[in-house]
Each structure stands twice: as structure tokens, then as C-alpha cells.
């Protein structure tokens, strides 16, 4: 089938200034916006879970398993937008079999597998093993066998073994924290190490990605906790929200400072690419950068969270405010991913012009597909919460 070029002619008609002729079509579309957004949610949710476990933040206990299962649900989907954006998806396995040692991207498969198997799956398994053994004894029929299989045949629940479960789970969490940092810092490095692109090329990129990941993951767990409580008809513990809100506040300050520092450095140094980047942010990225990421996703949540640190009345209002903040922060971080990925490709490497970008609705690289990859983890999470309900876990003495 002959390829269609009409959309490229349309883009060409909308390009401004001079762009290299090969630059008309954007190489990375909305799926590559979704990919760092999803991995960020994973890393952030895990780090919140680790807070409870490693730093013994007892108040966050109700969110611990929720955060882990949220991280797992999103991690299971994380590679899908990547693979589906490849021009040769059937060759994707080559990246695992013959990784090129100097390529930042080649390491992804290994970082991903390490994180999935060694960190998340193992930690969840150690956490749930006791409960799964009990559930497999209580249940009948297929569920009995499913839980039995999930225990991998390790059905010893003597206090000594359970103590080991806790100990090993703890060790994995400790290993997991740097792993979560690596997972998302590494995603930032994929962009930050491209010297050809001045909008990406900054050593701060991995750190910015990491903090925005934490911001988004914490917000997501906050929302998931509230939504689960709503469906279970349980009262949301506002103290838990306050605790999460406090962490969100501090991490958001750090995130805002780092991103601000990056931009101030860029403006002050005003290198070769400054003029084109100035034009980029003031025109093409105005809405997504200043309004969506800056105002909606950062400034408003920051002010509200600061206010909530002092104002502790009216529980119902506080809950509503936390819910809205969670959504706003997620919109902000998604916009940040957009601004990095799409923004970095809108200006020409000749620094003399812009191409344009319009997301299609259908197709492998369209909005619906991106939305699917974002909704799918929520479905997986619902399934995991049904299979491994944190609120039905067998209580253990600490």
C-alpha cells in the first residue's frame, strides 16, 4: 500500500521560518508523552510506599499496598506505548538480545525488568504471601488454586518464616528506592543526553524527571486512596490526606525550584538556541507550559497546599481540595511531559523555524490509543485490588 503524504503537506503548509526538510514530521508523538508519564507514576507511587516502609511513616499505612499495586499496574503497561510507536515493533526484542552498550535507550529493557521482577513483584509477593496462604486455605474452587499458585508453593506461615518475609521485603524496599530513582532518572537521561537538542540537553533533566515523577505518583496514590474509599463506602482518613499532602507540598517545591533553576540558567546564559526557545515557549508552548504546567499544575496546587498546612478546619472542604489538587498536579505533570517531548521537536535544529504538530484521534499514534494506555492500568489496578485486597490482608504484629 502506498503511504499517504497529505498530512505532511498540511504540516509543511503550517511550518514557520526555515526547518530542515527532514524535520517536517515529528518523530515522537503522543505515545512518547504517555511513556514517561506512566513510568513517572510508577516511580512516584513506589517512593511514597517506601516512605511508609523504610522511614516508618505509620500514618501512611493505609496507602502502602495501594501505592505498590498502583505502581505495578502502571509498570505492566509502561512498555506498551514504547513498543507500539516503533516502526518495526516486531523487532523490539532485539533491544534485549543485542543491546548497544553506548545507547541510553538500550538499557531500558534491563532497568525495566529489574524494577518489575526484583523490586515490585518480589516486594508485593513477600507482603502478600502470608495472606495468600490463608486465603488459599479459606477459599474453594478456582480461587483456592489461584492463590495457591501465587504463593509459588511456599505455604509455611510459622512466625519465623513470616519474620523472614518482613525482613526480605524490607531489604527489597531499601534496594527499591534507588531502583525507582534510576528507573525514572534514566528516562530523563534519554532526553537529557541528546546534545543535538538544546531544549532537552541539560544535566538537570534526570533530576527534574525524578521529582516530577514523585509529584505525579504521590498525587495518583492520593486520588486512588480517595476513590477506593468512596467505592468501599469507607470514610477517608483526613489525617492520611494531610500526611500525603505534606509530602506532596515539599516535593512540589523542590520540583518547581529545579525546573525554575533550569529555565533561569537557560535564560541567563542565553546561548545560541535562546532566541528560538524564547519563541517556542511564548507561542507554541504558551498554553501547555505557562497555563497548564505552570499555573494549573504547579502554582495553584502549591498555594493551596501551603494554605492547607496551616488551615486545618472543615474536613469535607479539605478532602475536596486534596482531590482537586491531585487532579491538577497530574494535569501539570502530563503537560510537563508534553512540553519536553513535543516541545523539543517543534523547533528546527537549524534554530530558524518551527514545524507544527496535530494529534490524530485514531491510529496507533493517536489520542484514543494514548488514552487506552492510560486507562488500561486503572483496569489492571481494579483487578489487582479485587485479587489482592489490602483491606482483607491478614493482620500481623510488628
Amino acid at each position: 500500500m502506498a503511504p499517504h503524504y497529505q498530512h505532511l503537506y498540511d504540516i509543511l503548509a503550517h511550518s514557520q521560518g526555515y526547518i530542515f526538510p527532514n524535520e517536517i514530521d515529528l518523530q515522537w508523538g503522543i505515545l512518547i508523552v504517555v511513556y514517561p508519564f506512566i513510568t513517572g507514576l510508577v516511580a512516584g507511587a513506589f517512593i511514597l510506599a517506601s516512605l511508609e516502609r523504610v522511614f516508618k511513616v505509620k500514618i501512611l499505612k493505609p496507602t502502602y499496598q495501594i501505592a505498590l499495586l498502583t505502581a505495578l499496574s502502571f509498570l505492566l503497561v509502561a512498555t506498551m506505548p514504547l513498543i507500539s510507536h516503533l516502526s518495526q515493533p516486531r523487532r523490539a526484542y532485539e533491544i534485549m538480545i543485542t543491546p548497544h552498550s553506548s545507547s541510553a535507550m538500550a538499557i531500558f529493557g534491563f532497568v525495566y525488568l529489574w524494577y518489575l521482577t526484583v523490586v515490585l513483584l518480589l516486594e508485593i509477593w513477600f507482603d502478600y504471601r502470608h495472606s495468600m496462604v490463608v486465603w488459599s486455605n479459606e477459599r474453594t474452587g478456582i480461587m483456592k488454586w489461584i492463590y495457591k499458585i501465587l504463593t509459588l508453593g511456599v505455604s509455611d506461615i510459622t512466625p519465623k518464616t513470616l519474620k523472614w518475609d518482613r525482613k526480605l521485603g524490607y531489604i527489597i524496599t531499601v534496594v527499591g528506592i534507588p531502583s525507582a530513582f534510576i528507573l525514572h532518572g534514566y528516562v530523563g537521561f534519554i532526553f537529557g543526553s541528546i546534545k543535538a537538542n538544546p531544549w532537552w540537553s541539560t544535566p538537570l533533566m534526570p533530576i527534574i524527571f525524578l521529582f516530577s515523577a514523585m509529584v505525579s505518583g504521590i498525587s495518583l496514590v492520593l486520588l486512588v486512596y480517595m476513590i477506593i474509599s468512596y467505592f468501599r463506602k469507607k470514610v477517608v482518613d483526613v489525617n492520611v490526606l494531610d500526611a500525603i499532602g505534606k509530602y506532596l507540598f515539599f516535593v512540589l517545591i523542590l520540583d518547581f525550584t529545579l525546573e525554575g533553576l533550569d529555565q533561569i540558567q537557560r535564560i541567563y546564559e542565553a546561548e545560541e538556541s535562546f532566541e528560538i526557545i524564547k519563541l517556542l515557549v511564548s507561542s507554541k508552548l504558551y498554553l501547555t507550559l505557562f497555563v497548564s504546567q505552570g499555573l494549573i499544575g504547579t502554582i495553584i496546587p502549591l498555594i493551596t497546599l501551603a494554605f492547607l498546612q496551616f488551615y486545618k478546619h472543615q474536613i469535607k472542604l479539605r478532602k475536596t481540595m486534596y482531590f482537586i489538587i491531585g487532579i491538577l498536579v497530574l494535569i501539570g505533570v502530563y503537560s510537563m511531559r508534553w512540553n519536553v517531548v513535543i516541545g523539543g521537536q517543534l523547533f528546527s535544529k537549524s534554530f530558524s523555524g518551527f514545524t507544527s504538530f496535530k494529534v490524530g484521534l485514531i491510529g496507533l499514534d493517536g489520542t484514543l490509543m494514548a488514552a487506552f494506555w492510560l486507562v488500561l492500568p486503572i483496569g489492571i489496578l481494579a483487578f489487582l485490588l479485587w485479587l489482592l485486597p489490602p483491606w482483607k490482608m491478614v493482620k500481623e504484629e510488628d
Binding site: Y5, F20, P21, S87, E94, I95, S103, A104, A196
Partner: protein, 262 residues
């Protein structure tokens, strides 16, 4: 007697085991050490000509000689099966017009294949010139560095090539090239770029763009051969590569390159 023999045997086993462990440790250590050193080299990523019997190709483009006829871009498309649509180019020509007010007008309609028309009124022109562009065949090529599967590589002659059967189409190389020389082939669905007509070079023929250039604005040659025309040219002219600060080890040298060109 039998007891002492068995003791001696044990000792023998112990000694040989110790020896084995020692050798194994040394070997493992040496292997790990070597691989670590090797990976450090990879991080530095400085490709160097290895096989001295082969040429080490470089390119010269003389901006003063280019008349913007577009023959090179046209010949390249037909020689290398590049789609004719104006979004895919292995080589193209840019027209720079510096105006009297200091602003620069850059155009490359259809990569210059159909020639150029000056759209700036003559009285406003400070200077104008054509710049042919193509892959710089960098010796520290950012595109090869980032390829996750090694489908992009540098040939022993210093030509940056792509294995089309191996490329997964992740497009990371397109992002990494600072010169905009790569694209995704719309039919083959893999990365594509100038090969310096490697298939012709191997037969002793000049790349298509150089073969057809009516003014001889493009040259290629062996950088290793100090008597080659290319090396002589580089000795006699002040040349410059594009974006030298990016340290890509570009081997495409421009004569009379003006500061406006990126």
C-alpha cells in the same frame, strides 16, 4: 601407609582446588576489568580508523562553487531510491540570503531539486549563497552512539551506515543527529540517510551527488592519504565543519562557510 597416602591425596586436592580458585579469581577479575575498561572506551566513543589498508573518507563542499542547480539532490534521490515527496532527503541545498538589515532568509524548496528563485529584492540583499547539506559522516557520530541495537554503525572506511534489516524504527537516531540528515523511510519503515553512495564507492565510483555536480563543488577523498586531492585541498583552504562545539567529529568540511549556517 594407606592412611598417609590418603592424607597426601587430600592435600593434593586442597592445593589443586586452591590453585583452581586462584586462577578462576584472576581470570574473572581480568575479564571484568577488561570489560570495564572497554565500556569506558565506549563511553568516550571515539571512533578511530582501525584498518590502515582501507581509505578513511572525508568530504569537502566548496560553498563558493555551488550554483544551487539542485542536480545533486535529484541524482541522490534516483540513485538511492529516496521517495520523491519533499519530506525525505539524503542531501539538499539551502539558499541563504543575508539582508541589509542583518536578518537572514533561509529557504530550501523541495530540497532545491527544482532550483531556486530569489524572493528577496536585490536592493535588500547584503549577500547570498547556497549551502549543500548531507550526512557529515561523523567519527564520533551521535546517531550511532544512541542506536539501541547497533543498527547504525560506522564502516571501517568511516562511513556511517544503517542495517535496514536490523533497525527497530525507534527514531532515537533522528533525534540525535544535529544536522537533520536522517528520516524514517515511509515504505521501508526504518531510518534512512546518506551512505556516501557506499555501493558506488566500493566499485571505485564517485557518489551520485558528486558525479553530477557541474561545478565540482563536492569532493570526497581519503583523509589518510596525505597526497590525496582532498588532503591537499584541506591544506590550501580554510575549512570548517558544522557545529564544531558539539564535537561530533564531522568529516564534512566546508570551504567559505559563513557564520549564519547551522
Amino acid at each position: 601407609m594407606s592412611q598417609s597416602t590418603s592424607t597426601m591425596g587430600n592435600e593434593k586436592i586442597k592445593t589443586s582446588r586452591r590453585k583452581f580458585l586462584k586462577t578462576a579469581t584472576i581470570l574473572t577479575g581480568a575479564t571484568l576489568g577488561y570489560s570495564w575498561l572497554k565500556s569506558s572506551q565506549v563511553l568516550l566513543f571515539a571512533a578511530e580508523p582501525k584498518d590502515e589498508t582501507l581509505p578513511w573518507y572525508g568530504i569537502v563542499i566548496d560553498i563558493q562553487k555551488c550554483i544551487g542547480c539542485g542536480s545533486c539532490a535529484k541524482a541522490c534521490k534516483s540513485e538511492n531510491d529516496v521517495p520523491v515527496e519533499p519530506f525525505f532527503f539524503r542531501t539538499w541545498i539551502e539558499q541563504y540570503t543575508v539582508k541589509n538589515d542583518g536578518t537572514v532568509d533561509i529557504v530550501s524548496p523541495n530540497g532545491g531539486i527544482d532550483g531556486f528563485e530569489q524572493r528577496v529584492p536585490t536592493e535588500d540583499i547584503f549577500k547570498s549563497y547556497f549551502v549543500p547539506k548531507m550526512c557529515n559522516h561523523c567519527s564520533k557520530s551521535p546517531c550511532s552512539q544512541v542506536c539501541p541495537v547497533g543498527a547504525t554503525y560506522e564502516s571501517p572506511e568511516g562511513v556511517v551506515l544503517i542495517d535496514e534489516k536490523y533497525c527497530i524504527g525507534c527514531r532515537y537516531c533522528v533525534q540525535a543527529c544535529p544536522y537533520g540528515c536522517r528520516f524514517i523511510h515511509p515504505v521501508k519503515k526504518v531510518a534512512n540517510k546518506c551512505t556516501l553512495c557506499y555501493h558506488r564507492l566500493k566499485k571505485g565510483l564517485a557518489p551520485a551527488c558528486m558525479e553530477v555536480c557541474p561545478t565540482g563543488a563536492r569532493m570526497y577523498g581519503n583523509l589518510r592519504d596525505k597526497n590525496s586531492d582532498l588532503v591537499k585541498y584541506l591544506k590550501e583552504h580554510t575549512t570548517q565543519v558544522l557545529r564544531p562545539h558539539l564535537n561530533t567529529g564531522a568529516k564534512l568540511y566546508y570551504n567559505a562557510l559563513s557564520g549564519e549556517v547551522r
